[in-house]
Structures are given as structure tokens and as C-alpha cells.
Symmetry: D2
Subunit: 217 residues, 4 copies
Amino acid sequence: MTTRKQLDEAGPRLKATFLLGTLKHKRSGGDFSHTEVLSELVIEQLREYNVACEIVRLADYDIKPGVKSNMGAGDEWPGIQQKVLASDILVFATPIWWGNHSSLMQRAIERLDELHTELRETGKSRLTNKVGGIVITGEEDGEQHVTGNISNFLLSIGVTLPPLCAVSHLGSYTRATKKSLHKKLRAKKETADAAAKMARNLVFFARFLRKNAIPDT
Amino acid sequence: MTTRKQLDEAGPRLKATFLLGTLKHKRSGGDFSHTEVLSELVIEQLREYNVACEIVRLADYDIKPGVKSNMGAGDEWPGIQQKVLASDILVFATPIWWGNHSSLMQRAIERLDELHTELRETGKSRLTNKVGGIVITGEEDGEQHVTGNISNFLLSIGVTLPPLCAVSHLGSYTRATKKSLHKKLRAKKETADAAAKMARNLVFFARFLRKNAIPDT
Amino acid sequence: MTTRKQLDEAGPRLKATFLLGTLKHKRSGGDFSHTEVLSELVIEQLREYNVACEIVRLADYDIKPGVKSNMGAGDEWPGIQQKVLASDILVFATPIWWGNHSSLMQRAIERLDELHTELRETGKSRLTNKVGGIVITGEEDGEQHVTGNISNFLLSIGVTLPPLCAVSHLGSYTRATKKSLHKKLRAKKETADAAAKMARNLVFFARFLRKNAIPDT
Amino acid sequence: MTTRKQLDEAGPRLKATFLLGTLKHKRSGGDFSHTEVLSELVIEQLREYNVACEIVRLADYDIKPGVKSNMGAGDEWPGIQQKVLASDILVFATPIWWGNHSSLMQRAIERLDELHTELRETGKSRLTNKVGGIVITGEEDGEQHVTGNISNFLLSIGVTLPPLCAVSHLGSYTRATKKSLHKKLRAKKETADAAAKMARNLVFFARFLRKNAIPDT
């Protein structure tokens, strides 16, 4: 059985990119993102495995509507796609609004569509050998539906999904601060365990795929 | 039984607003929206009942991310919400991308969320006595899933859904022009029938609700 | 505005059928169905409007797999379909298992498929002028997704869905008795309100449709 | 890069179990299952890698409603679960009815729920180190939604999902025979390719996991 130590020694530093679909941009002041807080919980775990992690907060970018990798002047998606392509681990992190992932998460999915067109035409995906994860927060309902929708997309576009690769937290915390929510989630055994297992499995498969590419014929 | 004639005489002109979630804005030149073409097929039918119809192409507006009715400076949603509130019939028209409605359709749903908060707090919805419809286009798959997701939202926020209130068209027409697609859809008996029944049922319930408000106690 | 009194006087007694998709059959002894308890809460409200209500517990019948109205020897669905066709109000009541309605609820949907085939071939549905409702219970997640899926089916097959026609309760009550859960749900303002509004709206539209059939041309 | 040859040499014979959710049982005579035909296409590919494959046609068994691994007298699920637990590769094969997997597929999901309870209580899943696949057929719509729902379940219960692990075929073939459909699907490049890639990826991960168990701490 592979131990955490062995995972650490398995190669150069892994890179994880979190696409954060919160509707709140950084300039929105006091308001913090619950999804970001839960993502940070996973990131703490990934760092135990020496993974370099970056959160890309989609609301802070001008991402044009469309289904091409580059939608022209002013479009800030191409830079984000560079980060996606350079990652070993790709995490979709989104709040739930009316049972679905956020409009910003959906925007990212639409903008990745050209990679699927490429896969369909060439039989090869530039996302092959990447491992996917999912982080979800919401007020009360929808976690499994959103997990399913995002899983369908990631699998179709060439990403591997390890077991227990999703973590979620449902609940309404209108009076929470970023700090108090962090503390609350870390203290909740179920959530902390889920984050730990998710990180462990993401790393296990990412290290394997780095050394053993999926055959492409 | 109510005839089309009786429907026409039943009162002042009804108003229908189509929120069009295509990713293509008007400035995108040669590209046309399949969803707009299918919406226009429904509109032709609604006009038979003397309904005043307007398509609001979301891609042409700057709609800020968020879940409030007004997200501040530069936000063009408030004007759209005025149109929504002034309508008898509200149609969500969207392409499918990866099994879901578009990011722009989701944006509209998020921005209507404050009306649901109001409903939860006061027990009353400003969308009560409105009738909802759904128009969907896609390349190959997802129509029923999207219909379900939008239906769940509309029902929860106070809108009535008549039977057969959705019309969809799946198919890939990379070489179609707007004119040829129009002709194609109008000629397809199944689609033309669905549009006709959808219009008939939307009008039937809209006229009823205008004269008979749903009791609010 | 129509008052509750006016609704009562509006005509002969309405009939509501609840298709109950719990996995527990009556012989299973001490075990009770949470979904049945929530359905009874709605039934209490419907009786205020003099509606005759019946719960059909699917688990107590031998419903053969298939997509025809009658699957031959030993099939007990035909009797259930008679009840469905004789109703003004049709409620789908189901627990959630892994984000979806139960296998028994899905079985009922499959067995109603022949009515849709009939609608497609003749343009007419034998479910037209019926009003639909949804009752959902689950441990933690999935209510909106299930509401959407069932709504898509009911609308497609000719049923009208009033606003707020769904009620749900999520929560794990391993030590509840039938009596204690009843009390708990009735005492929970949000659930009691939802059941009351659902009943009010179902009756409002059922009475209307009984006197004013949807035009079928 | 791993070649097909290397995969073949990687160890003892892998075992794949297909849970087939068609509504048609074997006794139903002339009627054949489209989902079975598509499953056989995948099986042909798996056999290239020397995988021992078995289709369990759920409609031929008496599988009691419930969420336990054993529902008592007459329940034939326990024997099926033995096969599931003895497999390296587990494929869910289902037709689509009204946007969802079949009632028989849902029944299997419900009956596997106790394994999830076990996972929640002990932190360990007896399905860990198994690889999952999905086969879907339908008349026209719903493949991605069903893929998402089943993916959510499989990931949550401990199964690994390789990229491109689903194959589907939508279309209405009322006059097809089993033989003609087989020929048709095998001749359709897109379907044949999808089956080949699915088999390749299932085997790639199954061989890896047999030699390298996911760490369980």
C-alpha cells in the first residue's frame, strides 16, 4: 500500500488549480465566499502532500460569453485556460443557486467546450492525465445534482475522477465571518474527513498519471 | 370549451417576455441564435392570440453577478426585471451547454433570487399570476433535464406552468442560415405543433389568471 | 379574489390521488414512511377544501416492469391507472435515494409512458385538465432535482403545475415514530405553510379546469 | 506509455460485471434490449484485454424494494451483490425513461446503499479499488443527465471513474432486430470509438488499482 510518505517522494511538485465560481468578487468588501473557505480546507490537505495550489476566482476576471478558448479583445479566459492546462489537479468549486452550479462555473464549462471539440476531432484531449475534484457549498439543497453535472462534464472532456473526490457543505450562515466559518468547517468531523480523503485520492491518482500516461491508442 | 376567438376577446392585450440566454450577442455578426429562431416560432403563435411579445437578449446587457435585484453601478438587470414584472407570460429560452442551461440563463435565475427571498419572508410573490414557458435548443442532448431545472425554479418562485409549456429542438446545423433554420423548424410538424400548443396553453392560463388571481391567504 | 368559501361551493367533490413511492410496504411492521406522513399533512389541507383523497402505496402492489398500461398476467398497475385517470389532482410522493425519486416512483412514470405515446399520436392527453403536485422527503439532499425531474414528466404528459405545488422535508429521524414525526412536521411553520399553499393552489386550478377545459385544438 | 500488450501481461484475469437495467426480461420473447446490445459492444472490447465479463439482467431477478443488502425471504439481490463485490470493473447499463435511469437501475442503487452506510461508519468502502463504467441507450434525450446521476453515486460509494468511461446511443429503432442493431452500432464510428476508449480506460485503471490499492488512511 502506498503511504503518504511514498506519495511525497513520487516526483516533482504537483500543481492544483481551483476554479472558484462564487458570485462575489474580491472588491465586494466584507462579503466572503463560503466556497472559497471550503476550498481552503481542501488546500490545507493538499499542501500536506506538497501540492502547489492556486485559486482562480472567476468573478474577478472578464470572461466573455462563448464556446471558444479565446473570444477576442478583452477576454481574460485564455490566461485562466493556461493555468488549467498546466495543472495536474483541476477542482471545480461552486456555490449552488437553484439546484445548479453558479453562472460563473457554467461560463468556465462553456469556455472549455473547444477542448472537447478538439477531443472529438482528434481523439485526444489536452486534459488527459489530469485528475478532477469538486467543492460545493449551498444553503440547503442540490449538492448531489451539481456533483453529477460537473462529473459528467469532467469525464467527457478527459479528466479522471477518483472516489470521494467531492466535498460539500450545506447550511445558512448569515452571521458567520470568514474566520468563524473556517473554524466551524474544520471542527466538523464529517467535512474535515471528506476534505482529507478527497486530497489523498486526488494526489494518489495525479502522481500515478504523471508517471503512467493513459494510453492514447 | 373555450375557443381561440373567446380567448381573443377575454381582455386587454397580454404581454410576453422572452429571456433569451444565447451566448451570442447581436454584434457577433453572421452568427445567429438557434434559440432565438425557435423563440420566434413561438412568438408567431402567440401573436395569433394578440399577445405583445418581446425578446430580451441577455448577452446584449451588462448583468452583474449576484443575487440581488440591483447590484449597483452599471448593472443593467433592474431594467430587465421591470419587463419581467410587467409581463403576463414569462419564457426562459436557452441553449444547452453540457446538459445545462447557459451561463446567461443561470445569471437571470440568480438575479431573480431576491424575489424568492421576498416570497419566503412575506408569503407573497410578485410573480404570482404569471404563466411560464420554456424554449430550448441544443446539439444533441439535455432538453428534459433543462426543462426540469427551469420548471423547479419557476414553480418555486410563484409562476404557473401549463401542460406542454416547453418546446425544444435538438440538432446540429453548422451550415444553416437564420432563414433556412426558420424554414426548417416551421416545416417540421412536431416542432410547429409543439409551438402552437405551448402558445395556446400559455394564453389560456394567462387570460384566466388575469381575471382570477390566485388567492393569497 | 376567490375565497376559500367560494372554492368550496364551486362544484362536485374533487378527487386527489397520491402515488406513494416509499420503499416500505405495509407489512414491514414498525417501520413507517416519512413520505406518507408528509403526504397526510397535505391531505389534511386538501380536506379543508372538501377534496376526497386516496394514497396508493405502490410498494403494496405487484407492478410489472414495462412501458405499457397493461403488462399482462398478475400486473396490478391497470387498477392504479384507473384511479389516476379518475382524479382531478395527481400527487407524486417520493423519498429521495441518491438524488433521485425512488425506484417505485420511477416504475409508475414508466408505466404512464403509454399515455404519452397516445398524446404524441393523437395530440390529446387523457391527463389534460388534471393538476399535479409533488411531495418529497429525504435525508439531506436532492429535493429540487427531484422536483424538476417529476415536473418535466408531468408537464410533458399533459398535467398543469400550479405555483408552489411541491412540499418537501429533508432530515434524518432515525428515532422518530409516525406520531412524533407528524407532530414535528405540523409544528414546523415552513412545512405547514408549504402544505397549505400547495393544497390551496392545487384546488384553485383543479376547480377552474373542471369548469373550463383546456382547448384541444 | 503503456501499450495494450503490457496491459495484457499485467496480472491475473480482470472481472467485469454489467448491471443491466433494461425493463425487458428474457422471457419477453422477440423483444430485445438495446442496452444489452450496446453493452455487448463494450464487452467485445473488454475481451481484447482478456477481461471476464458477465451481464446481470436485473429484470430476470426478484429484487425486493429496500435499502439493505439483504431484504429477506425470496430476495435475489444478495447473489448479485456477491458478483459486484467480486468484480474489478462495475458497469451500470440502463435505458433512459423520462430523463432518468430505469426503475431497475434505481433499485440496484437503492440496494447498494447499505455499502455507503458502511463507508460512512467505518471510513472504508468495499467498492474501493473498483473502476466504474456507464452504458446508456434512449430514444432521444437524457444521456448526460443519467451519466451525471450515476457518476455521483459511484464516486460517493468509493468507485473510480476513468475519463470517457461512458458510452451511449440515442435513437429510435422500432423495426430493428438484435442482429441489425448490433451491426448498426458496430458500424457507427463514433459509438465504436467510444466503446473502445471506454474499455481501454477501464482496464488501464483496473490493472493499476489491483496492484496499487488506494491508501485507506
